[in-house]
């Protein structure tokens, strides 16, 4: 498995690994019940330290994205929807605050909500 790690980014490497894995799972590229590469293998592929991958996996286990199968490795449980929901609601709140500061009227935002929640419109309404 390989994805690009930006070593010069201010985002810690273990976080980049977590985000990349979550994105792969969310996109269905790694499916529920499938094994992710072993810590050693992924460390080799990405050329990072074992501890860095171990830390990413440990946190993904804590978040319920992966689980440990003893003697076998790490298996995908699925992207924790509750956690993703919480995360994205927090992002939405931040965005709404920014819009408020820009004096965007409430009804404009409500209109977007209505459009998004209308049947079938959800996919085409990406910002």
């Amino acid at each position: 498995m390989w994805f690009a790690i930006d070593f010069n980014s201010h985002v810690p490497v273990y976080k980049q690994i977590k985000e990349n894995l979550k994105a792969l799972i969310a996109a269905g590229k790694i499916k529920e019940g499938e094994f992710v590469p072993s810590i050693r293998r992924l460390a080799q592929d990405l050329e990072v330290n074992l501890n860095t991958v171990a830390r990413a996996y440990r946190e993904l286990v804590e978040e319920g994205v992966l689980k440990v199968v003893r003697g076998m490795g790490y298996v995908v449980v699925g992207v924790n929807e509750e956690g993703m929901t919480r995360e994205n609601l927090a992002k939405l709140r931040e965005l709404l605050l920014k819009l408020k500061q820009l004096n965007v009227e409430r009804r404009v935002i409500e209109k977007i909500c209505e459009e998004v929640f209308e049947d079938g419109a959800a996919e085409s309404e990406k910002p």
């Binding site: 070593f7 010069n8 980014s9 201010h10 985002v11 810690p12 490497v13 273990y14 976080k15 050693r40 460390a43 080799q44 050329e47 990072v48 330290n49 074992l50 501890n51 860095t52 830390r55």
Partner: protein, 262 residues
């Protein structure tokens, strides 16, 4: 497993305090980088560890076989690459000649070339091949990528990474931060003989933010980073009540090394 423990190491040259009471450990399976500007005490630290300089005080426990790449990559100028390797073999304890030749090939050096005709970068590569052919657990390297072109540098970094995955350890110094970020697991930032920050790179990146204030104001406990036309930028430890910008490792290093703390 702990391969090296340095505790409260001190070393002076006459009036000059080169190493001023530093402590750190190097564990098996990690790449540990000693960073700092010239004269911060990195090379003195390494020389004390290897017994090439006599420490003034402190404790050094070395629990491992060691191969050393010195800062000055001096080899026998009149020898060919091949003869240099044979000589290294006769000095070495666990010298793997085959490995030396395969590295020489990987580094695209000509075995029959005279050492005197090698560029700085090529001489570094030859010295690296000799150092890496020594089968030890801890590789101590002083500026291992000095003078290398980007392709060779990446190759060397990749070799260092593989060493750590194979249960070896690397203690190295560098002043090129972008490569340090690529390969080091833990770093110690030195300034004037002291370690001013140490830990996993990821932790250090998460620890600090940059805060800008109008000129004339300062941030309590912050390290001065730089100034703009109307502001001063400080590096501070993250806290819930402070808003700031994410700090790159570059910025963290620069501010800590300047050491102008308010």
């Amino acid at each position: 497993m702990e391969l090296l423990r340095v505790k409260n190491l001190k070393k002076s040259y006459g009036e000059l305090v080169a190493v001023d009471g530093i402590s750190f450990t190097v564990e098996q399976g990690e790449v540990f980088a000693l960073l700092g500007p010239n004269g911060a005490g990195k090379t003195s630290t390494i020389k004390c560890i290897l017994g090439l300089r006599k420490k003034d005080s402190g404790e050094i426990v070395l629990n491992s076989s060691v191969a050393y790449l010195p800062e000055k990559k001096e080899l026998y100028r009149s020898y060919t690459v091949e003869r240099m390797i044979k000589t290294a073999k006769s000095y070495g304890k666990n010298f793997d000649e085959k490995k030396a030749y395969s590295l020489v090939e990987e580094f695209k050096l000509n075995p029959s070339e005279k050492v005197a005709n090698l560029s700085h970068g090529m001489a570094t590569l030859l010295y690296l091949a000799i150092t890496l052919a020594e089968d030890v657990t801890l590789y101590v390297m002083d500026e291992p990528t000095w003078g290398l072109d980007p392709l060779m540098r990446n190759k060397v970094l990749s070799i260092m990474r593989k060493l750590s995955l194979d249960g070896k350890a690397v203690l190295y110094t560098s002043h090129i931060l972008s490569e340090v970020e690529k390969v080091a697991d833990r770093v110690a930032i030195m300034r004037k003989g002291k370690i001013v920050e140490m830990g996993p790179l990821d932790d250090i990146k998460e620890k600090y933010i940059l805060v800008s204030v109008p000129k004339g104001e300062s941030v309590e406990g912050g390290y001065f980073y730089k100034e703009t036309t109307e502001e001063e930028i400080y590096l501070v430890e993250k806290a819930t009540n402070i808003e700031g910008q994410p700090a790159s490792f570059d910025a963290i290093f620069e501010a800590l090394v300047k050491g102008e703390r308010k």
